[in-house]
Symmetry: C2
Subunit: 155 residues, 2 copies
DNA sequence: ACCTTTTGGTTGACGCATCAACCAAGCTAC
DNA sequence: GTAGCTTGGTTGATGCGTCAACCAAAAGGT
């Protein structure tokens, strides 16, 4: 016989389906909102947020990639597009010949400053307000557990 | 003064960050796995699953779109790609001149039959096994609440 | 009958994510 | 010093999701 059953139990499947549905609806709606309100993609938002949070709005390419847990290719494409839109600039790194810094431009700072409160409002409206603080804590705990569990798993 | 505070409380932000992180890691990993194991995208998987679950592997285009909560454009592109890969076919509908059916081809049936158990294993391994059934139930309840709350919200 | 709206579906352009291949600079060890 | 690995980063192809515009058939109203 199989080491693991072939299918999920009905209760397990119900939980999975509920979670997936919520997640898709929430993320979808949120990213359409951020796009509509600010002409930025969620990726733009994330990158600018991390960049400006961290002191002087200037970070090593790979540090940034690790911070948001992206692979370098994704970051490279993303930064490329953002450069084209004037949100960030690249500077090369004096101590490492191959390295690069990513720097938020004034336009980038402006964009994130304008977008952040609106984004937070949507997060609150769609997600935070749906649950009590206790429930939010519970959800955070469960999320952390899932992440910890995944990190132990191969791939 | 503002009706709503400009930022989230630290506890709210912590919950949001945990959830987002988990969600991204989980969905990302899962969709890379399904792609690697079965040469299908998660979208392919979903469409074929719904199509073959529902009786004879044949469904009206819009019914299918509503079932998975996609807009028609997305479904149209998706079905187009799947036709090209031989997973489904389109047939026109006799009673409605503009309508179309989407039908799973034999190759489509085969593909989903092969992919489903592997997919379920990954869901179990990465998600279900991380939590107890009680916790899964809790998560499902909270997810449903968030969805219900979103459905009351504009946009 | 005619006109309008709704429904069913396609299309094209664009931005984003992934994969694989690649290149150059630095590091290690011999 | 030089061979080989690792790290930092780019590039191009391909598939996916969104938006907006569009078309045709079907309903509904008068």
């Amino acid at each position: 016989m199989d080491a693991t059953p072939r299918w999920l139990t009905p209760e397990q499947k119900a939980a999975w389906d509920s979670f997936i549905r919520m997640q898709e609806k929430l993320i979808g709606r949120l990213s359409r909102r951020v796009q509509a309100d600010s002409r930025m993609s969620p990726a733009d938002y994330l990158v600018l947020a991390k960049l400006t949070e961290s002191g002087d709005g200037r970070m090593r390419f790979m540090d940034l990639a690790k911070l948001v847990e992206w692979e370098k290719s994704r970051m490279s494409h993303q930064v490329g597009r953002m450069v084209k839109r004037g949100l960030v600039a690249k500077e090369d790194c004096p101590d490492d010949g191959r390295g690069a810094f990513v720097v938020a431009t004034p336009a980038g700072h402006e964009a994130i400053a304008e977008a952040a409160p609106v984004h937070v409002d949507h997060v609150r409206r769609l997600f935070v307000d749906a649950l009590t603080q206790d429930e939010l804590d519970t959800l955070a705990r469960l999320s952390d557990r899932v992440v910890a569990h995944m990190e132990k798993q191969p791939d």
